[in-house]
Subunit: 120 residues, 3 copies
């Protein structure tokens, strides 16, 4: 459990299903952690077509990098609105993902709280 | 008229003319209102090719959802720079749209004022 | 040297190599300066494929507008992670570009400091 807020906090907007785009996001996120280390807290927020990154089984080429990021403390948020629209159940979603009511609302409320925003 | 600032305020960056992209933006905005209700104030900022959403007549498949959002209090901002570059007059622009001098400058100044930013 | 922070500060995220996208970014940035004049400080942050805007020689059709922006005080930041991955040396990078350790980390830290963010 984090005791104090990190110096930097960032939400990353993931609304694209293309594996090469998701790969880029995961790679950028790894670079972010490498650059800012314990000073940054990151949430990847997947909604719309971007929910692909949070469905199981994830595309094979993404699994290794995603697993590494989750182990490093990155959060993966899945949009419940998207799950409902696509008839996805919790069983379809990565077991470590956190389900949020609305991906876009989460992106907005985090920024209200002072988080930075990245759209890859 | 709003008496106090909403708890959350968001500008949505619309610079794409593709109807399916605009449809996504309108749909995301509706989800944002559904999730945060009266606690959020939203402005869609259309510039460049994105000005398409604010021109009349709007593509038919978009009109219903756009009308609903405007009725729910969402603002639609149209970039005057773009209007000038495309020789659009106020008569070409949605009657409920608010013309701003520069779409990108509006997106920046709103963030300076504490608004969140979304790029769909 | 700037003595006081500008009223508005913005980072512009450049991660696309397509010349028409870069052209749009440069054009939007020029509009931003025209609208907000001395009240705005702008950094274009190039990483991933977007590093193209900062490599020399830049695509010819971009050079004039880029030169004008740099002369007007806009900063061009190039991501060292991207340079390493693409085996680019400082000699390959625009002489006025500022090399930052990580483009995405720079985009996040600037927002922590209160800068606005634009993804074109």
């Amino acid at each position: 459990m984090r005791k104090a807020p990190a110096m930097h906090r960032a939400v990353i907007h993931l609304n694209d299903a293309a594996p090469e785009k998701i790969q880029t996001v995961l790679h950028n996120t790894a670079n972010l952690l490498a650059a800012l280390g314990p000073e940054i807290q990151v949430e990847m927020v997947a909604h719309g077509p971007g929910i692909a990154v949070a469905t199981t089984p994830a595309p094979e080429e993404l699994t290794t990098e995603l697993t590494g990021l989750l182990a490093a403390g990155v959060s993966l948020c899945a949009c419940r609105n998207t799950m409902t629209a696509r008839r996805l159940t919790p069983a379809d979603i990565h077991p470590q993902a956190v389900v949020v009511a609305s991906g876009v609302a989460h992106l907005v409320t985090r920024q209200t709280e002072g988080w930075s925003y990245l759209h890859p």
